[in-house]
């Protein structure tokens, strides 16, 4: 058989259904309903512990780990002046649950050694570089609108018309590294 001579790597390049992304892992959403690695940042939305109408929009940039945290009404977070606030720490924690520590570390360009770093290891590695706080106003608006877009997926109706293009998207049991 021809396939015997191809290496796994070559076969991956020739595969129409090569797995590129791992599915999100199951996590509880109450505290941090939205996490994403997007636009060169780890960003997301953290529910306020005290006010059910309020959420915090938090982010950490890849590379320099510049961070921001403010409410959806553009009030700056009191805890995020000099260093990571609790919202950002919660965001890192849930990102590690959803994506795995290795993927978060790679995306944020954190040098956390081999293997799967824990959230605590990631946060302390980033804080050790003394990242600076950046104004969160515009960022918060952009991330919040992405969160609303994400929620809007729940409003879309299912359909029984076939979607043949989903043949290109098989499920996978393996976490893609």
């Amino acid at each position: 058989m021809l396939s015997e001579v191809s290496s796994d790597e070559q076969r991956w390049g020739e595969s129409s259904t090569a797995r590129v992304l791992a599915p999100a892992r199951v996590r509880k959403l109450a505290k941090v309903p939205f996490v994403e690695l997007a636009d060169g940042r780890l960003q997301g939305v953290v529910s306020s512990g005290s006010d059910i109408e309020r959420v915090y929009v938090s982010s950490v940039a890849a590379g320099d780990h510049a961070f921001a945290c403010s409410t959806n009404n553009n009030r700056p977070c009191g805890g995020a002046r000099g260093s990571f606030c609790n919202h950002i720490l919660a965001l890192v924690g849930e990102a590690v649950l959803q994506y795995g520590g290795a993927r978060v570390a790679r995306y944020l360009k954190v040098d956390a050694g081999e293997g799967e770093p824990t959230a605590a290891q990631l946060s302390s590695a980033m804080r050790a570089a003394r990242p600076s706080a950046v104004p969160g106003k515009e960022l918060a608006a952009a991330v919040f609108s992405r969160f609303l877009r994400h929620l809007a997926y729940l409003e879309l109706a299912p359909s029984t018309a076939p979607l043949p293009e989903l043949h290109w998207f098989p499920p996978t049991r393996v976490a893609v590294a």
């Binding site: 129409s16 999100a24 199951v26 293009e165 049991r173």
Partner: protein, 479 residues
Amino acid sequence: MRTDLLTEPVDGLTELLAVVDAFDRTLVNGLLRPQPAQAAALADLADALAAGPLAAGVAGAAEKAATGAAGEEHLMLLAAARGALLGAAHDALAAVVTAATGRTAGTHPAAAPAPAAPLNVLAAARSWLCDLARAGWQGIDHELVAGAAPVVSAMLPDPALRRLAVLLDGFAAELAASCPGAALERVPVRRWADLWARALLLTQPGALAEPPAVPVTGRLLPLGVDLQEHATAAQAQVHAVFEPADGGPSRLVRASVAVPKPDTVVGAGVWQLLRPQCALLAAAGEGRAMELTGMALTAAGDLHWQDELAVAGEPADPFATARVALAAAHAAVTPPLERHPARLAEPVFLVGYAVRPEDAVGPGAGADQEVGMHPENGVRFELAGHQLFVDTDRIPAAGPLTPAAVAASTACIGLLRWDAGRFVLQPLAVETTVKKKTVAVHAGGWAGGTADKLGVKAEKAATEAVAVLRERAGRLLRK
């Protein structure tokens, strides 16, 4: 099934795929400033189509692209040329499948007129895809990839554009996670070219046409459930044998249900979103037939499922269906524009095989390698000295079927697919022996709900996740 036919070389396939591969590699660097190797690949693509109806157009488009001057119409022609080659590959492989299964193939119907689609959003999608081709996979950055988001958001609510929207959404998510392209260690060359070309062709007016459907009445015998998903969409396709009440030949059919979803809804949560739309999922899970009255069925074998046209019928064991009814059922026909090797998914029934480890080479190899078995990496079924790779990785995690059960199986209902140079079996259900009794385990066993302990736990976690999102949406979305 004649598994021997599945391992024989297919005439001309290697040469054809080499042309496709060379073209696909031109998209790695992008077509903004083509190098000589890229120009050569473009010329080879034009040569491969030289005898066909696209010849003149493709030759001109290849020349333009080789000088870095390809416009949208040229890129469209190149995508069509690539599609024609893969369509030919599909046909050659489908002929092998027909010979191996001994099944009667159906005939091609004409397509029905496409629903009117808003042209401006299609144009926006086309423009984004052409920018991608110019930048190349190594040239992508967050700004370029983010251009897909408004297009997808505009398309998703429109049922006529759902196909393209779901494709672009899944594709863009992979690109976004791979930015910046300059730092990519490896590129899924065939895959991204497939997704790119497919999306580009779907932006053409008329491309979203569906094959005509006729109402049918009769008995539906489920075989198994195929789940497909990316971060923000999922689809379940129930494969079944349909026996018309008028006594005509039985047919292989599919019923689909698909839904966009937030990426944090996974596993059992996906079944929960799909379940209310399609009573067939529960029927398949319980091993029941369904009686259909006047439900639309296309020549491509797709039922347009409507719960109100179906009632639950007698118990119908999928393995009995596979043993008794599958061989005589007529095959479905792939619509012309969908012809691609990745689209092959032929229901088959296998029995009397030996299970070998995935890395076993040659007939009989690995017969004594029980110790080296890693079923999660795939296994091989050996029949009459010929081996067929079994992709256990695509068994959905939210279900009772496991790679280990496949490795311990004695009979299997699966979908015969083709990918990366070989035929592959996707298991839908297996028979295995537990305490000296034969039991059937189905990949879609939890589709309609479950009393399984692990399943109940997964269902509860998924219900909570969706409840949190709905609460947040209710509070924040209206602002």
